[in-house]
């Protein structure tokens, strides 16, 4: 039997992979998608409607497992979904946590849903402040893809006219809660914007997907698909074309090359049989998520590519970025003490945002360059906030009730700048359970992002003061790197093959039939979240790839 050759092998089924799969299948190309984990069954795997008492450990997880958790999304409600088998290492001095969802759809199953466009303030950053380089694209090139993406997934927001944030095409926003209006009154006094977030959560039925029912447990997965996820919004369209073959539990090991050093397919480990399998294609798309994609590229060594496929620049793995997260102020609103509870937590705490307001008039206005955003949350949660409440008995019980609607918190999202200190490589000594050399992370927060952190703490405290909130503190340190799940870089795009791995279409400079369509091509992580941009850039790259293949320009 002759070996089957697909048109395209796509590694990964999350935002970047899912969009590539959909776009390529709809273009009539035969696609084999490799996904490192299993397919989830929303009815069984998503426990977002379980109440704490339905959980064995009330949602606090098995004490024996708690220490191994990869962050807030990896908990009792999502047990068995986040990746724990495949290991990685960190260089001496690096603290890095790498939450990975290898299930079909990846992190889109549980993502935070904030979906802001990036703009020329991000793409043309170096022209503004002189640091690093511009992205190889202008906003006008990407804007149509943002629009198509927003129309596809549904983003709830408003047109805001912010210089840092291009507006898009929105469904009605979620409404402000009591505490939003109070915090906003403080932000207004300081001239800091306080606006509806851009949230891919359906405030109305959209393209056949039902409206949200505001249970508030989005990051445990949505059983009805009221927010964008790849398995709900992308993969069914691909499957409908009959052009897709999806292989699950297929852990990509390396990219295969032909006699010219071009991509010929992918070698993967079937995690069920533990056997290595090869699958062949005329082109390969890598979209395994930033760090994993770098690992696959760096592990794809051959006589053509001694440092990893398409890595003649030596840049594969470099420039890893992430968002600093952390509470810049927490406390409570005395105005709301003893008031009736209000359904504040209907969106895992993402209804409003304070989009970047720094360095807009002058890129060097602040002690740091570029900017950050802040997300507020608070009010009545699924567990009352007990901070600052003393004692026991009837009085204690009443005080818990009195304070229940009042807590508020501001959390920062501040981008790290690309730095030579922050990168991934292959650990020369350690292999994973399947014998594949593991990735090693080198990372530390830099001065610029730590200045943002300090600035954010100061402004947050001022906002509290200006609206009459009682300030109780802030995180002593930001969350550890990796926590935000917004890593970018490692296979950056740029015009110069000497300094960049891919061109502006995610096509590797060295290997024309090898593409990258996840956040690893991004120059930096900006103050925005990554998913919407991954979708837009992946759609554009995939259309380009399909055109190239149809034009016969990629016959490997």
């Amino acid at each position: 039997m002759p070996k089957q050759i697909y048109d395209v092998i796509v590694i990964g089924t999350g935002a970047g992979g899912g969009m590539a799969i959909k776009t390529l299948c709809e273009a009539g190309l035969k696609v084999c998608a490799l996904n490192a984990g299993r397919k989830l069954d929303p009815g069984k795997d998503f426990k977002n409607h379980r109440m704490p008492w339905d959980m064995k450990f009330r949602g606090y997880d098995d004490p024996k497992k708690r220490a191994q958790s990869y962050g807030y999304m990896d908990n009792e409600y999502t047990a068995g979904i986040w990746e724990h088998e495949i290991n990685y290492t960190t260089a001496p001095g690096t603290v890095w946590m790498w939450p990975r969802c290898f299930a079909v759809g990846g992190k889109t199953n549980f993502w935070g849903r904030s979906a802001a466009r990036m703009g020329d303030i991000d793409f043309q950053c170096a022209s503004l402040d002189g640091f690093d380089v511009n992205w190889p694209v202008k906003y006008d090139e990407i804007a149509p893809y943002y629009s198509k993406t927003e129309r596809l997934i549904g983003v709830a927001s408003t047109v805001q006219g912010r210089p840092s944030n291009p507006d898009g095409e929105y469904i009605p926003p979620m409404n402000f809660r009591c505490f939003d209006w109070i915090l906003k009154s403080g932000a207004d006094k300081l001239g800091v914007p306080y606006l509806p977030d851009r949230e891919a959560q359906l405030t109305q039925e959209h393209n056949g997907h039902p409206a949200c029912h505001y249970c508030g447990n989005c990051t445990e997965g949505c059983d009805i698909g009221a927010f964008f996820s790849s398995p709900r919004y992308l993969l069914p369209a691909a499957e409908a074309t009959k052009n897709l073959e999806l292989r699950t539990n297929a852990l990509a090991k390396n990219i295969l090359v032909d006699e010219k050093g071009h991509a010929a397919g992918v070698a993967y480990i079937d995690r069920n049989t533990k056997q290595e399998v090869e699958v062949y294609g005329r082109a390969v798309v890598v979209a395994a998520s930033t760090v994993e994609s770098a690992r696959i590229i760096l592990n794809s060594k051959s006589r053509f590519w001694p440092n990893g496929i398409a890595n003649s620049s030596g840049q594969a793995g470099r420039n890893l970025c992430d968002h600093i997260y952390g509470s810049t102020a927490y406390g409570y609103l005395p105005q709301l003490l003893g008031q009736s509870p209000f359904p504040d937590n209907v969106s895992t705490a993402e209804i409003a945002w304070l989009p970047r307001w720094q360095n807009l008039n002058n890129p060097h206005e602040e002690a740091f360059i570029r900017g950050y955003s802040i997300y507020p949350d608070g009010g009545c949660g699924e567990f009352p906030e007990l901070r600052g409440i003393e004692g026991f008995g009837v009085d204690f019980k009443r005080e818990v009730k009195r304070k229940y609607p009042a807590p508020v918190n501001l959390g920062i999202q501040a981008p790290s700048l690309p730095s030579p200190t922050n990168f991934v490589d292959i650990d020369p000594e350690v292999k994973d359970a399947f014998g594949i050399p593991v990735v090693r992370v080198h990372f530390r927060w830099g001065e610029n992002e730590l200045k943002m952190w300090e600035h954010g703490k100061q402004v947050s405290r001022e906002i509290f003061h200006a609206c009459g909130a009682e300030y109780e503190g802030c995180n002593e340190h930001p969350q550890i790197p990796g926590w935000s799940l917004h890593e970018t870089g490692t296979l950056r795009m740029g015009d110069d093959p000497k300094h960049f791995v891919t061109n502006k279409f995610g096509q590797t400079h060295d290997v024309p039939n090898l593409f990258v369509t996840d956040a690893s091509v991004f120059l930096s992580c900006t103050d925005k979240t990554t998913t919407l941009s991954i979708l837009a850039f992946s759609m554009r790259a995939s259309e380009y790839l399909a055109d190239q293949m149809k034009g016969g320009k990629l016959s490997a």
Partner: protein, 206 residues
């Protein structure tokens, strides 16, 4: 305000994922505490004292855990730790969490030793007033006394697990009118349209 959603519990039943808590070994009260009825409406008398056999605590320790949990979250005009089966929850967590076992055991011994020292009797033999008095010195900063650091640590632990055990049950969440016990068919909006700064709200209810 959009508030007329389906009861979450009702939907769970429809989805066939109703409570599995009742299936865990040894729990007599969780299932009750989580039934979709107000325990208070049923009356405290209807709550049978447990035939529960502790998994971790010794027979002489467990009643102290029960008593302390009920002192921390009493049954007043609504259900408390007793109705929520908090002591069983604490026993369950201590049984499964090695890191809790020594602190709980040490703390319970401390309580009795301290009580003997002050009153010549074990904690459970004290009058309710004396029990409350003893606990106040561990719970309120103003009333802290030197030499009771271990007791304060224990009270903190006991309160942490009591609140955890109470506010993760239906009766506990109902006691604070937790809005997440139901769904909403529209994005809930602040109702105070004429008072966005919330400076003229009705007087606090609690």
């Amino acid at each position: 305000m959009a508030g007329q959603g389906i009861e979450r519990r009702e939907l769970l039943r429809i989805l066939g994922t109703a409570s599995v808590a009742a299936g865990f070994a040894g729990f007599s009260k969780w299932a009750f505490a989580c039934e979709p009825v107000h325990a208070a409406a049923k009356g405290v008398e209807q709550i049978k004292s447990a035939t529960y056999t502790p998994q971790f605590f010794f027979a002489d320790e467990y009643p102290v855990v029960v008593r302390l949990s009920e002192m921390i979250i009493p049954s007043d005009d609504g259900p408390g730790a007793r109705e929520a089966g908090v002591a069983e929850f604490i026993d369950f967590m201590a049984f499964h969490d090695d890191s809790l076992q020594y602190p709980f055991r040490l703390g319970l011994s401390w309580m009795n030793a301290h009580s003997e020292r002050l009153h010549g009797k074990k904690f459970l033999e004290l009058t309710p007033a004396d029990q409350t008095e003893l606990l106040r010195h561990l719970a309120y900063k103003k009333e802290f006394r030197d030499g009771e650091e271990d007791g304060r640590d224990f009270f903190k632990l006991m309160r942490e697990y009591t609140t955890m055990g109470f506010y993760t049950t239906r009766v506990g969440l109902e006691s604070i009118n937790c809005p997440n016990l139901q769904f909403y068919n529209a994005s809930p909006a602040c109702p105070h349209v004429d008072d966005r700064e919330h400076k003229h709200l009705p007087p606090p209810k609690y």
